[in-house]
């Protein structure tokens, strides 16, 4: 979530730590209990809402689909080519990475990046179950693991057109949504 309120430095760092912890906790819940209810759409319902092809959703491992927690469909615009390297920021349970791996083929590669180690391991396992490979790194978007060579990246973010109130900015649960 993006906003225009700037906190003093002494408040910023602790708040970022709390927000990071809440984001990890929230998506751990989606990874481990995809049958649960969240205030965002997830799973196949979300993927269909964003226009994912049904064939992809039928072909991907059920666990990757069930724990999908994206807020958009990067494949509508990404124009991925065979042999390319794709970096999925916030790779989650691996659905987007698996679809990308199908498109880049055996000469390409897919790198995932996620704050949540459980999601990373799930993404790799789901990819393996699909016959493709995702190398998932646990980490932050501020440290993108693509030091050499070329690649494509996709990320979906939530942004606000108005300045958010301080109560919203200071609520980690809302950031995690």
């Amino acid at each position: 979530m993006t906003e225009s309120v700037v906190l003093p430095a002494e408040q910023q760092a602790p708040l970022e730590g709390v927000i990071t912890g809440e984001v990890v906790r929230m998506y751990q819940e989606v990874a481990e209990h995809p049958e649960g209810e969240f205030h965002f759409y997830h799973g196949r319902q979300a993927a269909e809402l964003f226009g994912y092809e049904r064939d992809w959703l039928d072909r991907a491992p059920p666990g990757a689909v069930a724990s999908f927690a994206g807020v958009g469909n990067p494949h509508l615009r990404s124009r991925i080519q065979p042999g390319e390297t794709v970096l999925d920021l916030g790779s989650g349970a691996g659905l987007d990475g698996i679809i990308a791996a199908w498109q880049v083929g055996p000469l390409g590669r897919v790198i995932g990046l996620d704050l949540n180690p459980t999601m990373c391991r799930k993404a790799e396992a789901h990819a393996a179950a699909s016959g493709v490979r995702i190398a998932c790194h646990e980490g932050r978007m501020e440290d993108i693991p693509l030091p050499d060579g070329s690649g494509r990246v996709s990320i979906t973010d939530i942004v606000s057109a108005k300045q958010l109130s301080q109560s919203i900015v200071n609520d980690p649960k809302l950031w995690a949504s």
């Binding site: 209810e37 205030h39 958009g72 990067p74 060579g149 070329s150 979906t156 939530i158 606000s160 057109a161």
Partner: protein, 49 residues
């Protein structure tokens, strides 16, 4: 997000609002609409060196 990607060596950073995005929970959806909250998809490319 633009700065983050460009600082990491990516260019051709593109953004587009995701059509049809909404929160599932009604109260969250209402609050999000009041603040003009959108989902935005970013794509970028890192050229070969």
């Amino acid at each position: 997000m633009f700065a983050l990607l460009e600082d990491a060596g990516f260019n051709r950073v593109r953004s587009t609002v995701v059509p049809g995005f909404a929160f599932r929970k009604e109260s969250t959806r209402d609050a999000a609409e009041a603040y003009g909250v959108k989902a935005v998809l970013f794509t970028a490319q890192k050229p070969a060196r």
